[in-house]
Every structure is written in C-alpha cells, then in structure tokens.
C-alpha cells in the first residue's frame, strides 16, 4: 500500500479547523508529516486518525452548567495548605530577594500596588545582549544611586548650621561619579537657595536656619537620587543561554522601557499594576497567569492552566485589574445577599436599603440563603412543566 502525499495530509488535516482547536490541528499536522516520512500513511489510516482526533476533542469538552469557577478556586486554594510560608528565598538569581509560595500567591490575588519584592527582568537588544561589558554599562545606568550610597560619613555641624558630607572615594569610582557631579545634582534638587561647597571629597551644604530644619534637610539629602532609575535598588547581570540579561530589584517599568538598548518586547516586571498601566489590560491578564503559574510551579504544585486563566479573566473582565476580595470582585457582585454573606455584612444591607436594590437571587450564595436550588450544574437545567400536583399530594 502506498501512503498519501504530504499535501493530502495537510489539506485533510486543515479541514479540521474550526471544529478542533487550532493548536491541536497544528500538532496533528506536524506529527503526521513527521511520521509520514518514516512510514507510509494510508488514506484510510489518515481518516481514522482524523476521526479519532475529532472524537477525542469532543469527549474532552466541558459540560454545560459545570461550576468551573468553584473548581478553579478549589484547585488553586487547596494546594495553598501545602505551600511554604517562607517569604524570602534565594532562587534563580541567588543575589535577589523574591517572594514565593503562599505569600506571593496572596499578593497576586490582592493585586497590591507595590509587591513586597518587585523585580524586573530586563532583556537587551543584540549589540548589548551579546557583550558582557555593554550589558554591565546599561546595568550601571539603571541602578539607582543615592547620596546615602556614597557617603562614608555625614555630620551635622550645629555651630554653622550646615551639613558635612564625606564621600567615599572607592564608591565614587565604582559608581563613576565625581564630587562636582554630586554637587551639580544636589544643587538642582535642593534649589538655588542652598549653598554647596566642594573640597575634594567633602561637601558642605549650608541652608538650614533651625536645628529641626537641619535634621530634615539631612534626611532629605540622604535620599536624593544621583543617577539611575528611581526605585531600582539593585541590579545583577547574568548570562542566560547566549545572552546577557539584567535582573533588578525594585521595579520602574515605564522608565526602563524608555532606555536605549532595552528589548521592549521581552523585558518584564512582576508588578502587575505597572503592566496594567503601561501595557494595558490584556498584558496584565497574561502577567497574572504567568505569575500565578510560576509561583505554583516553583512550589512543585501541578495546577491546570485553565483554572489560572479563569481567575485571571475574572480579575480583568471589567477592563481594570480587580482584587479577589472585598475591594474587588466580591465587593462588586450584583447580589446584596452574596455581598452581605461575604464580609462587612451590615454596610451592604444598609446601603442596599437606601438604594432600593433588588436581589434577583441568581447566584449561588443567594440561592442557598433562600433555600432555592443552585443555578449551576444539574440545577441550571429548567423544564417547563404543566403546574399542578406537587410531590406529596
């Protein structure tokens, strides 16, 4: 028996499109073409494979009414008990702090403005990504240096009401800064009223009138950013496969994307709010999925991606990232009873009465409260029947 040609395989398999997910069609085509090279595939065998794929697809479909939400919540919640509580761990890049396990998962679902350990992975464009020194240079540029990082000593001279900063030579060299450059930045930041004198590596800042003002000034000066990107406190350059990648502690996605040499397509942060603001809601959804699955995977827990996608979709349907909890998804439910049964019972009831809200009792909690069947699964099926005799009559 002779086999069918690759063209026939292609055209036959592609007929499945629309009926079976594209990913499956592509995989089937790839597999058949590969196998076809080794042994002949008869027309009949091809048809049988196609039929089998169709059948496998059909039998894998979810049933209408399935409570996919609850299953997803359980699938993510149940392994929570098995996760570690250790907040900080040294994983992947040994030098950086990463929040992992249960605290990280909770943080993602809370969509906190600032994650406890913000982290960016900065990919670089070709000339920079291939060369360690060029990558280093960019990393230097990114890392935030404050006055605090440079001073070896800081005195408050109460006699003359001035601040005395001694800069460390070695650190200056390391950060590629000079005392005069520091002065430049300081006078820009502090305004023209402040008088700054440079004597070798010593800086005299004179401005304050009173003692408390001097102290405030000292605190302010310490925090002044001399160079780098705001909030990026630490950078590590690491070789990953063929290219050099920069990892940063602290995240400022908007600023990083503006920089030259940064690969804007792949560079990413673990701060979902930032992604939402800068790249939009679709990107935020993907970031949620990625962060959740990597957190779970790192803990060695296997959770189907579909559950994670559902959670991410629920958090982002409204066009903005909403928290899983009373300030987000749960707090915006349509049912008064469901909201009252979750948290802050009284407030929801009182508000509902002023607004004259009506609870249509379509959800799960409300149905349980009122003693109705739950509108999911077998309870979602309704029959139209002639009324009349009830069961016990």
């Amino acid at each position: 028996m002779t086999g069918v040609s690759p063209e026939t395989i292609r055209s036959e398999v592609r007929k499945l499109r629309g009926e079976v997910p594209d990913s499956v069609v592509e995989e089937l085509e790839r597999t058949l073409l590969r196998v076809g090279k080794e042994r002949a595939i008869t027309a009949e065998a091809l048809q049988r494979v196609i039929e089998a794929v169709k059948e496998a697809h059909l039998s894998s479909l979810v049933e209408p009414g399935e409570a996919v939400g609850t299953v997803a919540a359980q699938s993510i919640g149940e392994p929570g008990t098995q996760m570690t509580l250790r907040t900080f761990h040294y994983a992947g890049v040994a030098e950086l702090n990463v929040t992992l396990g249960l605290p990280r998962l909770i943080e993602i679902l809370d969509t906190r403005r600032t994650p406890s350990a913000a982290l960016m992975t900065v990919y670089l464009e070709p000339p920079y990504s291939k060369d360690k020194d060029k990558a280093r240079a960019i990393a230097q540029e990114i890392e935030m240096t404050t006055v605090e990082d440079l001073i070896s000593e800081m005195e408050t001279d109460l006699m003359n009401m001035q601040l005395l900063l001694s800069l460390s030579r070695s650190r200056l060299r390391q950060k590629e800064l000079t005392p005069s450059k520091v002065k430049e930045v300081l006078s820009r930041e502090l305004g023209p009223k402040v008088e700054i004198n440079v004597e070798e590596t010593k800086l005299r800042i004179k401005a304050a009138e009173s003692l408390s003002e001097l102290r405030r000034l000292a605190a302010r000066v310490r925090k002044i950013k001399l160079k780098g990107v705001k909030d990026v406190t630490k950078v590590v350059v690491k070789k990953e496969g063929e290219e050099w990648v920069i990892y940063t502690e602290g995240s400022n996605f908007a600023e990083i994307l503006k920089m030259k040499g940064v690969d804007k397509k792949r560079t990413t942060t673990n701060n979902i709010r930032e992604i939402e603001e800068i790249l939009g809601i679709e990107a935020a959804r993907n970031a949620l999925i990625r962060e959740m699955s990597s957190t779970l995977r790192e803990q060695g827990l296997e959770v189907d991606i579909r559950h994670i996608m559902l959670v991410a979709d629920m958090m982002t349907v409204k066009g903005e990232v909403r928290q899983i909890g009373r300030h987000g998804v749960s707090g915006e439910k349509s049912s008064v009873l469901a909201r009252a049964a979750f948290e802050i019972t009284l407030k929801h009831l009182l508000e509902a009465s002023l607004r004259g809200e009506e609870d249509r009792l379509r959800g799960v909690t409300e149905s349980i409260i009122t003693g109705n069947p739950i509108p999911l699964g077998t309870g979602s099926v309704r029959l139209v029947m002639q009324g009349g005799r009830s069961e016990r009559e």
Binding site: V24, T31, V35, A45, V49, A52, A56, H57, L61, V62, E63, P64, G65, V68, G69, T70, V71, A72, S75, G77, E78, G80, T81, T84, L85, F88, E95, L102, L109, V303, D304, R306, H307, M309, L310, V311, D313, M314, G328, S330, A341, T345, L346, L349, S353, R355, G356, E357, D359, R360, L361, R362, G363, V364, T365, I369, N372, P375, T378, S380
Partner: protein, 872 residues
C-alpha cells in the same frame, strides 16, 4: 400542603412609619413581660398577638401553634423622634448637600441635569451620586433660593450642630422632609425611599419568635437580649412621654430624649464607637440586632449560608483494607438510626412489609411509615402488623440504612470537591466509620482520631445525582491537573515491590492463596520455574494476572537511580519496567506504577484507556494483592534498620570534623577580612552563606556514607526507595547526622547577646554554637543539640498554624469571587448576571478532568495507536 412558592427576588428598602404601623398587630406600651402568674401581659413585649414560642399556646393573631405561627410584628410609638444610628453618616451627607431652607440639592440646574443624564440607565447609578454629593457639599449659597448656608457639623456619635445651635432629631426630620423626590437619586437614595424615614418616629418590635425567652431548669425565665433592650426603650419612652405631658423642665426632657436615643441606637448596634456598649445586669455586653447578623457565627454566615441538616452522622474513622475503595463501613448502631425514604411498589411490597414488621427493634427494619395521604406512623408505637398489612403501592417507608445505599461521606476542612464523595454503605459491627485506604489522600484523613460526617440523600433524584456526579470512582482523576489522585499508598507500594522483584518465587499453594486474597479467580499461567518437580511462579506473573491483556507500557520505576548510562532492559536493579501485552516482563512495581499523587504511569494509563470501571476493579484487586503479598512475604521495620557499621560511623565523624574545621577557617578568614564577598552581599552575609553551604554539604556527605550501607535489603530503605513512605533523607538523619537547624532560613542566632545559649562564648560563630546537630537521631542528641532541634521544630509548627489560617482565608475569597461562574450551552463562561468572562472555557473548551494532564487531545498517542501501532 400549601402550594410551594419560590422567592424570585428580594427588594431592600426603608420602612416608613405608616408601613410600620400597618404591619404591626399591636402597639407595645408596657415594659413588663409577664404578670405574677406567668402570663404574658397584654400590650407588653410578650403579647400573645406577637406570636408564640412555648408549645401548647396559640397565637392570638393567626391562631397557630409555635410550629405554624411565624410571629407578628408590633410597634412602639416614640415620644420624640430619634436618629437611626446606622444612617447617621448618610444623614450628615444629606444635611451638608441640601439647602437648609428649601431642601433642594445644592447643585446648579445645569449641574443637576448633567449628572442626571450621566446616571441615566446606569446599573450602578450611585457612583454618580457620590460625585454629585461631593460637589454639592459645602456650597455656601443655595443656587435655587439663594439662602446662605451654614456649616453643619457632626459630633460623634449622634449630635448635629449648625453654627452654634444644635439640630435636634426633630429639626433634622423636618429638614429631610423638605428634600424633593426628584433630587433623591442625586443624593444616592432610591426615589421609593424618603430620607426622613432615617429619623425614627415609630420603632418596629420584632415578633417573639425572633427573641424567644428560655426557661431554665429552676423555672426562672430568662429573656433574650433584644427583649431586654426593648424593655429599656419602652421604659425611657414612657418616662419621656410623662415628663413632656407634665411640662417638665426643658433640661430633663432633653436628657431623657438623649437617653432614648442611646437605647434605640444600641438596640440597632451595640458596637458604635464612642458609645459605651449596653450591658446586661451581669455585666455581659448585649448582642443586639447588628451583632446578630455579623461575622462567622452571625445570621448570614452561620445560619443562612450554612445550615444544620437531618439524616447525618459523625464518627471516628478507622481503616479497613478489605472494603472496596468506593465503600464506607457504617456501624450497625448508626444504621439503626439513619433512614432512607423508600417508596412501596408492587415489586418491593413484601420486602417493605417485612421491614415494617421488624420496626425499630430488629436491625434491618423501619422507623416510619407515611401513608399516601401524608400521615406519618411512628413504628415505635404503631401496630406494626396492622400497618404492614395496610401497606400498598403509594406508601413510603422510612427504612433503616442498609448495604448498598448511597451516602455522602465528608471530612473537614472541605478544601476541594473530593472532600465530599458518594460511597456505598457496608453495615458492619463496631463503633467507627470504616474506609479504604486509597481514599485517604483525598479526604486528607488519617486515623489518629479523625472524625468524619455521613449524610443520607433522601429522594431518588438526590441519590442518583450523588451516584453519577459524586461517586468515588468518578473522582479518580483530579480536576486540578487531569491526573489520578486516588491510588495506592504505603503498604500497597511495598507489597507490590516485594511481590514483583525477581527473587520472589511462589509455589502453587502460595500463588493461589495470594490471588484468592486479591479477590481474583486463581487461574494460574504456566509456571515460570520447575525445580525438583515443584512448580514455581514469579511475583511478576501473579501481578500480570490483574493487567488487561492488551496493555503495553515502558517506563522507569521510582527506584531508578538515574545512572549516567541507562542499561534499559538489562537494568539489574529492575528499575526499567516493561509491560508487554498485559504481562509484566521486567522491572518492579513501585510508586511510579500506581501511587496516589505520584507519577503513577501504569495507573494513569489504566484509568484513561480502560475506563473507570476496569480501573477501579484493578485498584481494588491490586491493593489487596499487595497487602496479602506483604503479609505473606513478611515485612517489618524497626530501629535497627538504621544501624550502620562502626567504620561508617568513624568515616562520618571524620567528615563532620572536616566540615567544622572548614567553618573555623572561614570564620578566621572573615576575622582577617580576607573573605571574598559575594556580589550584593555584605561580608557577614557571605560568611553565613558559606558556612550554611559547608554544613549542608557535610550532612549530605554523611548521608552518602550511610547510604552505602543502607541497601534495598533493608526494609526501611525499601519503603523510602520505592516511594511507599519516608525518604532517604529521613533515614540518613536517623543513621548518620541530623544536620543544621534553622530558624527563618538562618542558623540559630537569637537568645543572649551574641550567643544562643550561655554555654558558648559571645560572638562564637562556630558550627556547634549556632545549631549544627552532628549526632544522628538513632544515637541520640546531646542536650544542647536537643535544644536547637526543638527551636527548629517549633518554627515548623508555628509555620503550619499560620499557613492554614492564611490559605483558608485565601480560598474563601477565591470561592466567593468565582462561585457563580459556569459554562453555558454556547461554551462561554458567564457569571450570575450573564456577563461573559471567557468566550470559550480555557481557550479550548476542554474540561481539565477529561484531559491528559492538561492536554485535551493526545495527538501523539492517537497517531501511534493508529499508524505506529498498526505498522508494528
């Protein structure tokens, strides 16, 4: 029976004084509850028109007894109006954003129009109202009548000031009355609600059924907290009325008014900040309306979302490997109490008659008979013989639970749907529920005193639904990851290993014995070996009896050591498993074959390709075979399994000494500041990391030494290596060295200044001073080591406790956020409102439970089966 009614929706609103009076059956004026004879006083708080709770009495409004009468509301006419505390903040906003003279909202006409427009058709229109109120607030002059506005101040808890003068609730009420209905939406109120209703003139008195009094054994009556509070209100209200009538000084009236306000406020909520909570005479804080609804044990979470049920039982659990994994052993004394409603038909008439005759006295009997006209007969008292004769199709018998009934079995915390499953009943002697060990991982159950619950579904519909959707067999595949979650555990694995390793040879008697115990017909294949005329069978042959005849599979067993060059079929450790046409040719059966929550290659294939029925049968047989094998071949473990030879001990000690020396060197290097810091770390941190590294390494080294002497001839090692229980780390800790103890991921370092215990010098950074345990568990820990170990162990305990609380709350939030999502007939995922969350569930519409570890269609397998397999 009354026609059944379904609540379709619930509307929330405020009650107007008129409505309160209309729904009230009586006004309550007397503060006393009962007279000397113990009869409820008319127009008192226990008035018989408000409903009855004690049996034997009838309600004077509806004539029903305590079972039929739902209770009726009464009311109290307040002498002076008071503010409803829960609405003070709303009242404050209303006063700030409306004109003091004309009552219009302080918005210009165009602003009003614009905002109303914006509101139009919005589901959450009140979000616009918030904006409107914000703009209107604090406007100096009324755009409508030009009246100059004075600033209204709110003094907690319920005093309002305007300029210098105080606004009494009466003033406020008249102000609120002036607000026009067309402005209400802009103020965040529904037009059906009048703002002045937030200032109460009439107080609704809940029915007696809501606040039942309890009679103690001594005959003393104890009233509900709400009744106490209402008594206070009535008393003050009366005094206020009397004083007003008598023309008492202004000051006294004001005081009483304030007191009335306090009582009414605490009646609604007893947790208002700035208000001392109302107390019972004994000093206990009263639990008033607000507190009744709130929190975990409140009305909503405690009674409405979670209800108590009949037809349930709870008992301690214990294991029974002889049960099928979908069965549950129910003690007879439980089965005697629990009942199932059984309809009498022409097919089971005689059987039912017999059950009725046996009644409650003999075990398989019945408790109640319900005649077609709905009358219930209690078989404890009825003439059972007569009833049995009267029985005919149409009757319902509530018979005792018996073998084969479907029940739901549950263990808390119910973290996933496998925490409640449908089992079949096996009535047995004893006092505990019995369950097969294969389902333990799903319930997360062990037998150290765990208790579980059992529920009996009553209607046929419920039973069928439970059987189809919740049966244990249908939960073998976890919806979490699309792989088996039920499987063999512990001895199931060891037994199978002992049976299938190559040295196991069994004569005819033993082989038949094993198969019989497994529950299979002992049809033996050709003997593998015949020695001196005696026939012998290998364990692999016996195991193969259970396999389907067309199964082909190769994989690496758990015991595989990952040699650099795999000898595959020649593996002398039997780690390469080959199953050909349902025959186990090579390799041993261990955790990778069928352990729950492990790789379980064989078991996974069985479930997915041969279906649930065949797979369940296999699991039932294989677990019993394994246990029988373990019993027959003998398996035990004891402390001397961790014995290692003296030479090994010495080697380990050497290694530990080396490591300690290395630590000392590191510390010296640190002191001389010669240590090279790791990037981004301080010198001290670097030192700690290097020391930790060195000490972790020595534990592993010591373990490796010990492992050389811990071979597969050792039962403890068999358990660890086959994946049945325990790990090699556990064993080496027992045999060789426990290793470094840690708290918060660091070596122990807290305690005294610079040292953990006084036995060390301050700033001693050495291995022993910071919690390195060089002894093994078997040898025993030194006192100081014991202390360090306890510190590390304590952290573990605290961690678990915190984690359960945190993950519990996370799961509650997740469930609450997602519970309404479901798949519609068109394949979309929607919430209760019909909002589409996903257009196609999971982007491919596949149910994770029906996928192969997440893959909906196993293209490779299908192709192999049809083309590759056919070509072979």
């Amino acid at each position: 029976m009354r026609p059944q009614r379904v609540i379709e929706s619930i509307r929330f609103s405020l009650l107007s004084p008129d409505e309160i009076r209309k729904m009230s059956v009586t006004s309550v004026v007397t503060a006393d509850t009962y007279d000397e004879d113990g009869f409820p006083i008319e127009r008192g708080l226990m008035d018989r028109r408000l409903g009855v709770v004690e049996p034997g009495l009838t309600c004077r409004t509806c004539g029903g007894g305590p079972k039929d009468c739902p209770g009726h509301f009464g009311h109290i006419e307040l002498a002076r109006p008071v503010i409803h505390v829960n609405y003070v903040e709303t009242i404050f906003e209303l006063l700030q954003s409306t004109c003091r003279k004309c009552g219009r909202i302080l918005l210009k006409e165009e602003e009003r129009e614009r905002l109303l427009q914006e509101m139009e058709g919005k589901e959450e229109w009140w979000k616009v109202s918030e904006k409107a109120v914000q703009t209107a607030k604090g406007r100096q002059e009324c755009p409508h009548c030009g009246e100059e506005q004075e600033e209204v101040k709110f003094e907690k808890p319920f005093t309002f000031m305007e300029g210098k003068g105080r606004l009494t609730p009466s003033d406020i009420r008249t102000r609120l009355e002036r607000i026009r209905t067309e402005d209400l939406r802009l103020l965040g109120l529904d037009p059906s609600v009048r703002p002045e209703w937030m200032v109460l003139q009439v107080l609704l008195v809940p029915p007696v059924t809501v606040r039942p009094s309890i009679t103690l054994e001594t005959g003393v009556r104890s009233e509900d907290d709400l009744t106490h509070k209402l008594v206070d209100i009535i008393r003050i209200n009366q005094r206020l009325a009397e004083n007003m009538e008598a023309g008492a000084p202004h000051l006294i009236v004001e005081d009483l008014w304030e007191l009335l306000q306090y009582h009414v406020a605490t009646y609604f909520s007893n947790e208002i900040s700035g208000v001392p909570p109302a107390r019972h005479r004994s000093g206990r804080v009263l639990r008033t309306l607000g507190q009744r609804l709130k929190g975990k044990e409140g009305r909503f979470r405690g009674n409405l979302s979670g209800k108590r049920v009949d037809f349930s039982a709870r008992a301690v659990i214990s294991p029974d490997p002889c049960l099928k994994f979908d069965e549950v052993g129910v003690p007879e004394y439980v089965a005697r109490v629990l009942t199932v409603r059984s309809r009498v038909t022409s097919f089971n008439l005689e059987e039912m008659r017999e059950l009725v005759r046996r009644g409650t006295e003999q075990y398989p009997g019945a408790q109640w008979v319900i005649s077609p006209d709905g009358k219930r007969y209690d078989l404890r008292y009825a003439d059972r013989e007569e009833l049995a004769q009267k029985l005919e199709p149409g009757y319902v018998v509530e018979r005792n639970l018996r073998d084969g009934d479907i029940v739901l079995f549950n263990r808390q915390p119910s973290l996933h749907r496998m925490s409640i499953m449908a089992h079949r009943v096996r009535v047995m002697p004893g006092h505990t529920f019995r369950l097969n060990l294969c389902v333990c991982p799903l319930y997360n159950a062990d037998f150290d005193g765990d208790e579980m619950n059992l529920h009996v579904p009553q209607s046929e519909e419920a039973q069928v639904e439970a059987m189809i959707l919740m049966a244990v067999q249908n939960q073998i595949i976890s919806p979490r990851f699309g792989g088996p979650i039920i499987g063999g555990i512990q001895d199931h694995i060891t037994g199978a290993y002992l049976l299938t390793r190559k040295e196991t040879l069994l004569d005819r008697e033993k082989a038949c014995q094993l198969l019989m115990q497994a529950g299979v017909e002992p049809v033996l294949p050709e003997p593998a070996v015949v020695r001196e005329g005696v026939e012998y069978w290998t364990g692999k042959q016996l195991f193969s009896v259970l396999l389907p005849k067309d199964l082909n599979l190769t994989y690496r067993a758990k015991i595989c050591e990952g040699c650099s060059r795999c000898k595959e079929e020649e593996c002398e450790k039997e780690a390469y498993v080959v199953i050909e046409n349902g025959e186990l040719k090579r390799g041993v059966i261990d955790a990778h074959a069928y352990k729950a929550l492990d790789k379980c290659e064989l078991w996974d294939r069985m479930v997915k390709e041969y279906g649930v029925e065949r797979a369940s049968e296999f699991l039932n047989h294989v677990t019993r075979l394994s246990i029988a094998a373990a019993e027959m071949l003998g398996f035990t473990t004891s402390i001397d399994d961790e014995d290692i030879p003296r030479i090994a001990k010495e080697r380990i000690e050497e290694k530990i000494e080396d490591a300690k020396k290395k630590v000392r060197e590191l510390i010296e290097a640190y002191n001389r500041e010669e240590l090279e810091p790791l990037p981004g770390r301080s010198l001290r941190e670097t030192l700690e990391m290097r020391i930790m590294e060195a000490l972790a390494e020595v534990r592993d080294r010591a373990g490796q030494v010990a492992e050389k002497h811990l071979t597969l001839s050792n039962p403890a090692v068999i358990m660890a290596r086959t994946g049945a229980r325990g790990s090699m780390l556990n064993l080496t800790q027992m045999a060789a060295c426990v290793g470094q103890q840690s708290v918060r991921g660091e070596r122990l370092n807290r305690g005294y200044v610079g040292r953990v215990l006084i036995h060390f010098k301050s700033e001693d950074l050495g291995a022993e001073a910071r919690g390195f345990v060089s002894s093994s568990y078997k040898d025993g820990l030194k006192p100081l080591e014991f202390f360090f170990h306890a510190a590390g162990g304590r952290e573990g305990l605290v961690d678990t406790a915190v984690r359960t609380a945190q993950s519990g709350y996370m799961q509650r939030r997740l469930i609450n956020a997602l519970q309404d999502l479901h798949v519609e007939y068109d394949g979309t995922v929607r919430d209760d409102r019909g909002v589409i969350v996903q257009f196609l569930y999971g982007e491919d519409g596949a149910d994770p439970m029906r996928t192969d570890n997440g893959k909906a269609v196993r293209v490779d397998r299908l192709v192999e089966k049809i083309i590759g397999g056919g070509a072979k």
